[in-house]
Symmetry: C2
Subunit: 587 residues, 2 copies
């Protein structure tokens, strides 16, 4: 491609709207253009990158027996009603009516459509397992689209769905799919981690997210520094034993008798801890919730810990969890706002509402000389000991894991955090969709069973941005080789010099013949602009051809992420390029 | 691919809903599945065919300098308001609101989005010409979706847009694009014709449609049997000279004096012609219209001719044409319903409404002894002669061309009709979109001009069906080689015979190594089912391997559209296959 004919509208300045490196660089480099909030045009460079990603994804899906299909963007309400999601999905699902007032939605995901298709055509165990996938447009009406295509509304996703006769086969295939995902991200040249994850609104039994690691990522990956354990922040488990290693309290049984201390106008753990000069981990917090709207749930957590609502929902097996209003919890437990504590709490709340329950995080069992509200205004109680002075109805893993926590899997590993961007998600769906959508098959004995399903997504458009978040510098993007829009840029630095131009064109033609995808910068602009644009666009190798080099019979090869160029004789250029590219790695 | 693992749900019977061969065969062959009216799932076989079509289209678009982009499916109202089409497009444009009540439509076409994109980034004549295209999902809310994907609501289209500095350059590129289209349809292996066409709601200066020829097509191609002239029915021109060759009337000047004859209760040309035993081409019809709602237009046509409203609109340079109600035309010309005629008509209607105009089709100039209404109830007038007894304010080409009409281009060609399916359309848009959307560039002197645009569409999903409409027989589809879902099917006829199975698998593995895309029918079903499915799916070649053949050391090769199989030694199979495929042609 000749740069002079290419539609690569690079911008000199950062666009004002851009709020993260990928957003800024993809707009500046002429990969994308904004059409509306969360909706973008894919310009030629951006589409080239995405198509390369798609092709890698496609090959690996085919390699594990996937068959590609294409499902509609406009999906009828009836299918979503059958699965029960029409009512549940909320405003992210963009709904519309056709000219006959029939209701539809824009594809946010395709469990309903694909399950209906498979149900219609698969009757026997002999046709199972089967895996179908598509790479196509999805729409989710995000309340706050941001970061360009990282959290857009219209996006491209690869969504795959598998159907199995047994749980065992579904689990076996789940591992196969995870393996394929690792191959994909390896081939894309990205640093990533598969992490245990929550299933969220897609539902199902268990799931893993694939995180591309980047300091600018919104997600937190919790991982063990010794073993393979990794999970997203919502999912990361905390060990029960952690409670026993709680520092900062005296050994159990040694605490003095509880005593009330005056803490006028101070409610928060932070403020009271400062006043009393006690560490926060000696506090016990009480947090009040409504489960499914009508059941009071009180959580007890250590003062330095944070409640993980996803864990609480899982423990209670509910979808609907809301914080209790102040007036409601005052009524429930009798303490003034900010002065509730764990002492006798279970009895107090059950007296007001027999359905109420007190759930403690495991870690509170380590509090041997603690502090909490006294149930009297402006007083806290100190010297509270677990077991002697307070307890919960049950103990669960309720909190977010912290950095340095013990690994929940291995003997002596510690948890560490890193930032990432979720780009893939695999789900074991079980029979969540096959039962309501009546996706059944007959076994060898002619008995009917629901199919066991899995689903496997990759955000192919989001990956374009995630790759940039992971790989850029002050000058622009540094694409991994396999998804770079071009293998090499030939920069003709003195376009008015016939010898230089002739050499550049000759190398360009030879490179094309050798199967390289090259961009010849033949524009009538200064050399500095060409250097800058090649860096901004992030092409792995530039071949710089100028008057001075030609006089010496040489051209300059420079890898995007290297500071030292290499000079090679003009005639050896095409031999040297593959060697140089071989040494190019963004990792 | 193994048939036993493939998702190819062929149906034994024709689906009740199918109304045309392609619809029936694509559903029965497991290429497509219906999701809602005009909305389909693309199953693996169907998608394979469409992807092959897309790839051919993509290569030829790139070959004429096209750069691929991807534009959003959900497009903001503002862009469509800027071009003036939000109000004009009607109900085919599916409109929707997001969660913030902002209005959008689903992409029916992309002139607005692409012009806005180019306008933002192209400022100078140096960047022109430029051609951008995409292959993506479109939605048009057809009032009566039918024939499966031939007239669906959600479909895939390649839409290309070019931007030029001058009319001359736009016209030159228009011819280039036409040439690329011919290459595409040649490579697809389809019989087709480019025809002159009306621009319709896309607008612009001139356009050509590309018709795939098929007896089941909804469109009519009018073509000259001697020269290259071809047009669609709406566009096909009629020669003025045609009028002079009008048969069935006496030479001008010889008609007797006009005379009224009693035709009680008869209004139509048909009925009166029967009563008076006169040929229909001796009649003159009067047709009453409102142009732009307020200007009466009366058309005079020969009794055997049909008014082409598209031509009338073009002649009057209007978009809005409506038939006049009976009461209104009675008032306008003073004749009872069914008894108006051309005699003194211009004077009569102008007296009632000075804006009224009488436009005659050229052919009425040949009526030398004609018949028409007499302006009195139950009477017609005979012996009407053009020039002596009636005339129009002006004469134009107003009628649909008929079979056997003189060619409007060459000296002695005659027009013939054939049926076709519109699969592509190229438009010279001129400055229709660039002016309202302010798509301007600066010339070498720094002067601003609107860009001259062209647009070029191909219905890639419709082509899948059009190819089937053109190529099928009683047993199923007969795909052209370049877009067949597989090159060959290996039918293992005796799956329980280890020798047969082993041979089939060996040939399958060798064929794959040789770069052939093959389907191995390894299902545990009877040979007859395999023959039927291979024919239904339409794979160009079947390699039939059975016990009897193997005993003789041979396999049977049969082309889908040939009756005589060829027997080759097992060891020579892979040599014979390419030879056989070379001789395969659907044309």
């Amino acid at each position: 491609m000749l740069f002079s004919r290419a539609f690569i509208p690079t911008l000199r300045d950062d666009p004002a709207e851009a709020d993260t490196p990928s957003h800024r660089l993809l707009l500046r480099g002429g990969f994308l253009m904004k059409v509306a909030s969360g909706i973008y045009d894919w310009l030629p460079l951006g589409l080239k990158v995405m198509r390369k990603i798609e092709e890698i994804v496609r090959q690996e899906m085919n390699a594990i027996g996937g068959q590609e299909v294409l499902l509609p963007v406009v999906q009828p309400k009836e299918l979503w009603e059958a699965s029960g999601r029409w009512g549940k999905y909320g405003k992210e699902l963009l709904r519309l009516k056709d000219r006959k007032d029939a209701e539809f939605c824009l594809a946010a995901t395709a469990e309903e459509v694909i399950t209906t298709m498979v149900t219609k055509h698969v009757r026997s165990w002999k046709a199972l397992p089967i895996m179908l996938y598509q790479i196509g447009t999805k729409f989710r009406d995000e309340i706050r689209p941001r970061f360009g295509i990282l959290r857009g509304r219209e996006f491209i996703m690869k969504d795959a769905y598998s159907f199995h006769a047994t749980d065992e086969d579904a689990e076996r295939y789940y591992e196969t799919a995870k393996g394929a995902y690792c191959k994909i991200f390896d081939r894309l040249g990205l640093k990533y981690r598969p992490v245990e994850a929550d299933s969220g609104p897609i539902g199902g039994s268990f799931s893993h997210e694939f995180m591309v690691l980047a300091n600018t990522g919104e997600d937190i990956v919790v991982y063990c520094t010794k073993c393979e354990y990794a999970a997203n922040r919502e999912r990361a488990e905390c060990r029960d034993e952690q409670a026993l290693r709680h520092k900062g309290t005296k050994a159990q049984g040694e605490a003095a008798a509880p005593q009330d201390v005056h803490t006028p106008g101070l409610y928060s753990v932070e403020d009271v801890a400062n006043l009393l000069k006690l560490p926060k981990d000696q506090f016990v917090k009480t947090l009040f919730y409504w489960a499914n709207g009508d059941r009071p749930v009180v959580c007890l957590l250590r003062g330095d810990h944070e409640l993980n609502e996803a864990k609480l929902k899982r423990v209670l097996k509910i979808d609907d969890l809301k914080k209790m209003e102040e007036a409601q919890y005052v009524k429930l437990c009798g303490a003034p706002v900010g002065f509730a504590g764990p002492q006798g709490l279970s009895e107090k709340v059950k007296k007001t509402n027999p359905k109420a329950v007190v759930v403690g995080d495991h870690a509170i069992k380590g509090v041997a000389d603690g502090c909490s509200g006294s149930f009297k205004k402006d007083y806290h109680t100190v010297h509270l000991a677990y077991g002697r002075d307070f307890k919960a109805d049950s103990y669960e893993d309720l909190r977010f894991a912290g950095e340095g926590d013990a690994c929940p899997r291995c003997a002596d590993g510690k948890l560490a955090f890193q930032k990432g961007i979720e780009v893939g998600h695999v789900f074991e769906l079980g029979i969540k969709y096959s039962v309501p959508l009546n996706a059944v098959f007959l076994d060898a004995q002619g008995k009917s069973h629901p199919m066991v399903m899995g689903c496997y997504g990759i955000g192919t458009s989001r990956l374009v941005a995630a790759a940039v978040e992971q790989n850029s510098d002050a000058n622009g993007i540094i694409w991994p080789r396999s998804i770079a829009p071009y293998d090499a840029a030939i920069l003709c630095l003195d376009i008015d010099d016939p010898k230089v131009k002739e050499t550049a064109v000759k190398i360009y033609e030879e490179a094309k013949k050798a199967g390289l995808d090259v961009l010849l910068d033949d524009r009538e602009v200064q050399a500095g602009v060409k250097f800058k644009d090649a860096d901004l666009i992030g092409i792995p190798l530039s071949i710089r051809i100028g008057k001075r080099g030609i006089a010496k019979g040489e051209v300059e090869l420079k890898l995007r992420n290297s500071k030292t160029p290499k000079f090679v004789p003009v005639a050896r250029t095409l031999e040297a390029v593959p060697e140089e590219l071989k040494s190019y790695s963004v990792q």
